[in-house]
Symmetry: C2
């Protein structure tokens, strides 16, 4: 394969030094003045040779290469939760394109390798100007290392680890969840149940926090509200709750959506028709069920904002401070909530 042309090749072709080529191509006209004729000659030679700067060399020598990393702790294109992550990726791509940034997907550990390899894979993200991270857990050591080195990074989703030093763009699940319960209370519901998964992701505890805050405000018996369950237990719960006089059920929407799907199935199987027999709300947007009341997570915007925050960090001149952004959810009125 013919070598890719370098600045030195352009320099030879244009009869100038490699330094001059670098100056002209990088548009680094800071305190420098170059004759227009030289400039044109260089530009023409570069065009003719089809010059493309080597991003790796650029990054070694300077600091930017206009590549943003995207690191997911599982798969960037998960098959079981595609409906969840896809809009975020769409947002990331949109904003990156708008800002002239390419994306580097680090495929590091597809879950196949030992978690020990995570460390190296995460450190490799340094080849980009900065990196977006997705995922429930935070591998503290490598992230701390990146942060300590001043490497720009942004998590997608709220992260409190490492003393709050991790910049993130998250979703205000607390407020959105509280609003859903508020609405039920306003409609006269007193016997409410909140069904959540066993998993302890921040997005789960945030939702619970919002639910409990609203319950407390309404002076409901908070101890009875929260119920942790597996998908398989849902049908039995529905039965029990009917006996307890429950009039409204709220369920967490997780990335797989399996818990809310299980609930919707169980409700239908029990012959209950919301909102008449039971009010139903999902803390999120269940797939293929736009009629269900709840809220919409601004996933696309999440991706866009994360990219913007990252680029801000990269271009920031002063010392960076950890930035934390929480986006509001969009309330979904739906048709599954009614008077108690």
């Amino acid at each position: 394969m013919a070598r890719a042309p370098r600045q030195a090749d352009i320099a030879a072709a244009a009869g100038v030094s490699q330094t001059t080529v670098s100056l002209i191509l990088s548009g680094n006209t800071d305190g420098v003045r170059l004759s227009e004729s030289t400039r044109q000659r260089v530009l023409k030679a570069a065009e003719k040779l089809g010059y493309v700067p080597d991003p790796v060399a650029t990054r070694l020598a300077s600091s930017r290469n206009h590549m943003l990393g995207v690191y997911t702790f599982a798969s960037a294109f998960p098959t079981d939760v595609d409906g969840f992550y896809y809009p975020i990726l769409v947002g990331i791509e949109e904003e990156a394109a708008a800002l002239g940034q390419d994306l580097v997907l680090f495929t590091g550990t597809g879950g196949l390798e030992a978690p020990a390899d995570d460390k190296l894979a995460i450190r490799r993200t340094r080849i980009a100007d900065g990196c977006l991270f997705f995922g429930r857990q935070v591998p503290e050591e490598p992230i701390d290392w990146l942060l300590g080195g001043g490497f720009p990074l942004v998590y997608i989703g709220r992260r409190d680890e490492l003393g709050g030093r991790i910049p993130f763009v998250g979703v205000d699940y607390v407020a959105a969840s509280a609003a859903v319960v508020d609405r039920l209370v306003e409609l006269g519901h007193r016997e409410i149940r909140y069904l959540r998964s066993e998993d302890d992701a921040p997005s789960s505890s945030d939702r619970e926090e919002g639910v409990l805050a609203a319950a407390e405000k309404a002076e409901l018996d908070a101890r009875r509200i929260v119920v942790r369950a597996e998908d398989a237990e849902v049908a039995a719960l529905i039965e029990r709750w009917r006996g307890e006089g429950v009039t409204a059920v709220v369920v967490e929407e997780t990335d797989t959506g399996s818990l809310s799907a299980a609930l919707l199935d169980a409700v239908a199987a029990a012959g209950l028709r919301p909102p008449d027999d039971l009010s139903l709300a999902v803390l999120g947007q269940p797939k293929d069920h736009p009629e269900v009341s709840g809220f919409e997570v601004p996933r696309r915007e999440l991706g866009r904002r994360a990219v913007r925050l990252l680029v801000d960090q990269i271009t920031a001149s002063g010392p960076r401070i950890a930035e934390h952004v929480l986006l509001d959810c969009i309330p979904v009125a739906g048709s599954t909530i009614g008077p108690a």
Copy 2:
């Protein structure tokens, strides 16, 4: 934070040269022998300093960077045809991860910029070791330029441009489509219609070719079989075909899936229930309609094979030849085809 430690720091600490450190840390024991004591001293110093190799420098110094480009001519994450491309991306990511390659998504022109910019964006793909291309059209000039420079690239989808010099992994739509018509003929159907889009993508003409080949073999009147139509015209066609005694309809599945969706809707609206009132087949897999007869496009495998072909090209020692791979589709029996 103090500077990240470099090999030179370790060298100083261990009292050896930086070269020796590099040799020991990279495990590059090829023709070299190092005393175990030196080795231990260096390893210990590296550990103590918390050394992590700089991936950027590593990649500059070695020739490959283990990054594969992914270039899409529109958006890598299209919102209207997500169901179509997503599995391909999944396959690409899987195989890339398995082969230890990172992915660079070129966001070049999201359709916003003039096609002239395509040229530069496409050339930028050279920062990777090789690149995968998606898309209906081939911008000949930049692709030719890449090919001429010996840059490894693979198209996803059959491409005949540039004198067949473009390596690709495609799908054997001809054979799969013919097989569907064969099946209908075996079941006694003689009045068959093939509904296709106006668009002239290779995947469309391949399907038509397969349909016509099967029709010819069965000595059907080929002139009446193929019908090009827009989504909006489908309902009227159904009506007409009933008058013509049509017993089976085959429809093309495009990336948006809108034509097959229009047909399924029109058939249902006309009160026709396949396979009793009409046999129905889709040349592909319509979204959310697993019961429809036809075939499944091996999209995930398409992504995987494309990655493998690309990596083969990259690692090939001798002169590369354009490789063309066609994958078989998986027949879907379905329940919408019956006897005439």
